[in-house]
């Protein structure tokens, strides 16, 4: 188990890349119940002025926390998670889209045995989430 005392602001704790395909979007639509057709139909996406089918923002948010969950080893230790959706992730029908997540320690809160992990999530060199922060509990298990 990681102890809060071992962490320093700025430490890189995890990095990972994920490929979204159109299949990923259909799978997320079914799992989440978000069937907005801009996430699977090019004709609908174009008709509302988008360049093409976009990933669900909540799919990007849901995937981007995974490197942090793997690092702490227990999804139940996530006590807070917030993001701003700043840029869309355009998912090409054949190539898909690759997103990269870099997770660093943003703050250490020893009195609460917590740490804030800040995520940098990029697609095609641009960040797609703003103020992406995960609050994790590092309290020893009783």
């Amino acid at each position: 188990m990681i102890a809060v005392e071992q962490l320093t602001v700025g430490d890189e704790v995890a990095t990972a890349s994920y490929r979204f395909t159109r299949d990923s979007l259909v799978r997320y639509a079914g799992a989440s119940g978000d069937f907005n057709p801009i996430h699977y139909r090019d004709d609908v996406a174009v008709s509302v002025g988008l360049p093409g089918v976009l990933a669900h923002g909540m799919l990007t948010m849901g995937v981007a926390v995974q490197p942090v969950v793997e690092w702490i080893g227990d999804p139940g230790r996530v006590r807070g998670y917030q993001v701003k959706f700043t840029r869309p992730v355009l998912v090409d029908p054949s190539e898909g889209a690759e997103i990269t997540v870099l997770a660093k320690v943003g703050a250490v809160i020893p009195e609460d045995q917590m740490a804030r992990i800040d995520l940098t999530v990029t697609f095609n060199g641009d960040t797609v989430l703003g103020k992406a922060q995960v609050l994790v509990s590092l309290a020893p298990t009783a």
């Binding site: 006590r79 807070g80 959706f85």
Partner: protein, 149 residues
């Protein structure tokens, strides 16, 4: 037309209880590319101290979504769904969601702001379990884009 600022402070009726099923948790975990066995393996979840498999953090949106549907349909709110973009999202947990939970959500409109002709609506959904205990607060800011001039 802009979103009606008079909806600030208004709350919706509690949603019907949502029964969190194991297979739904597994399906959602796969969809968000989660790898922890605590999401899928009951034995691993129990060894980690949970009563059943644990849902990924953003699974809370599945329960919150019922309240956002209420918000979009709120009489007099004047929220044009075709112009809504998800601006930001926050989850604050008392405990993780686990399979077997029966969850109810109550939405309250926290703020309505105008920015460059767009409306920003922030709604807070309190999600509680069958005993009435708090599980997670899900907060969304929806951006309702201005009408085409």
């Amino acid at each position: 037309m802009a979103v009606n600022p008079d909806i600030v402070g208004r709350s919706c009726e509690p949603t019907e209880p949502y029964a969190v099923g194991r297979e739904k948790v597994r399906e959602f975990a796969r969809a968000v590319m989660a790898t922890s066995p605590i999401h899928t393996d009951v034995g691993a979840a129990r060894a980690a101290g949970y009563t059943d498999i644990v849902a990924p953090p953003t699974f809370a949106v599945v329960v919150q979504e019922k309240t956002l549907a209420q918000l979009l349909a709120m009489p007099g709110a004047n929220i044009d769904f075709s112009r809504v973009v998800h601006g930001s999202q926050d989850f604050t947990f008392t405990r993780p969601i686990v399979a077997g939970d029966e969850l109810t959500a109550v939405l309250t409109v926290e703020s309505v702001k105008s920015l460059a002709g767009n409306s920003m609506v922030t709604a807070v959904s309190q999600i509680t379990d069958a005993t009435g205990a708090h599980v997670v607060t899900a907060t969304s800011t929806l951006v309702v884009r201005a009408d085409d001039a």
